[in-house]
Assembly symmetry: C2
Homo-oligomer: 238 residues x 2
């Protein structure tokens, strides 16, 4: 259909895959449907990706790239804790906007789970085997680093700390998408959990609550009113 005939069938297959995944869900990602979408036969899937698993993996990687861009669009302010919370909300927004897409990305739902996302993210150094996934996680780590630099939480290896936050977020969004938390999950579960985790990491309760409030008020007034800066106070406890 679109695009020159002899051209990148690869890219067009992945593009079509993204489009179908986001519109019709993971079940739409079958060989015949995708091939028809780019006006080719199913063989294209095999010459370029070796099979549906390879194409699924390519689609997953591209989704992670877009996920990373979505998170990157969150503005960074001079309150890194508020930024961390904003990042978490953006993460949640992306997942809630299309839960099936997220489940597909992490290798679960849909036609046959694709291979695991990565290995030893924490073990040796930082990176995972999939740079696309790592780029998403890195934004979390970088923000944690800034929170530590600002003296809001105890100085420590930021990677495991980011992993704690990631675990919480990941679990929360997966449970929320299956309806476990009803309609008020963010105020009743996610927000308190985030504050509690921050306090446990060393932030003062009033400071953490303040960053949360500043975020909430910024969400109500989208563009104007520069966020009231929360002064870090003093060193984290212990």
């Amino acid at each position: 259909m679109a695009g020159r005939p002899g051209e990148d069938a690869r890219r067009r297959l992945v593009d079509a895959g993204i489009r179908l995944l986001e519109r019709d869900g993971p079940e739409a990602l079958n060989a015949r449907r995708l091939a028809a979408e780019i006006g080719a036969s199913t063989m294209a899937v095999y010459t370029h990706f070796g099979g549906m698993a390879g194409l699924h993996e390519a689609i997953m990687k591209e989704e992670f790239v877009r996920f990373g861009r979505h998170l990157h669009a969150v503005p960074r302010t001079d309150d890194p804790v508020a930024d961390l919370l904003a990042l978490g909300l953006a993460y949640r927004d992306f997942v809630l906007a299309n839960p099936q897409r997220y489940r597909f990305m992490i290798g679960l739902t849909g036609p046959g789970a694709h291979p695991p996302i990565g290995h030893d993210l924490i073990g040796e150094g930082t990176p995972t085997t999939l740079p696309e996934v790592n780029a998403v996680f890195e934004q979390n780590v970088e923000t944690v680093r800034r929170v530590m630099a600002a003296g809001r939480i105890r100085r420590d290896d930021p990677v495991p700390v980011a992993a704690q936050i990631w675990s919480m977020l990941h679990g929360y969004v997966l449970l929320e998408t299956i309806g476990v938390f009803g309609r008020d999950g963010v105020p009743t579960v996610l927000a308190p959990a985030a504050v509690n985790l921050l306090v446990g990491l060393g932030d003062r309760p009033e400071a953490a609550e303040g960053s949360l409030r500043s975020l909430a008020s910024a969400a109500e007034a989208p563009a104007p009113a520069p966020r009231p800066k929360v002064r870090p106070g003093r060193r984290p406890r212990a």
Copy 2:
């Protein structure tokens, strides 16, 4: 094969499903394989469950029942925080023992995700639409209640607090099963996260660490040596 012919094909199908799921993974849960396992034709699936989706749901419920029993086997002591941590470790053990089974249970991996687990767990009252799932969550809530009664964390509605802990656990185990945390996930991520969350909920850091240590020493010395009781100290902060 086994069992009287005219008898509960229902139960035998579910039993075979559990067996195959735990031995060969979710891909083994197909109509022909299951029917052959009980010496019947695939029609049995349709007369008793309306289709594979119904059988999958029945298998999921039974797995949750067993999951609940597994958690129930964790001994309760007079340190409810240590019990909560032990419950978390047992949760993690069950998942790590067979990650594919857990993913199947929560409606993700395998041949076509089955319907969502439940709705409005937090919204109205406590229960979800699936009592089997709720029974698992309830153990968490009950332990949180005991932690509050012992004065270790702030008194509050225990359900959202348990939901925070559940989110963390759920996210952690799913990330660990795909290899993100390498080999030391528990000491570097899960244990610190649990302590941090507890501290944020009001426990004193030394008390939380103490409960964690008592648990670790109990794990090394399986049967003997009654766990050194951690005195609750005084009221939680604020």
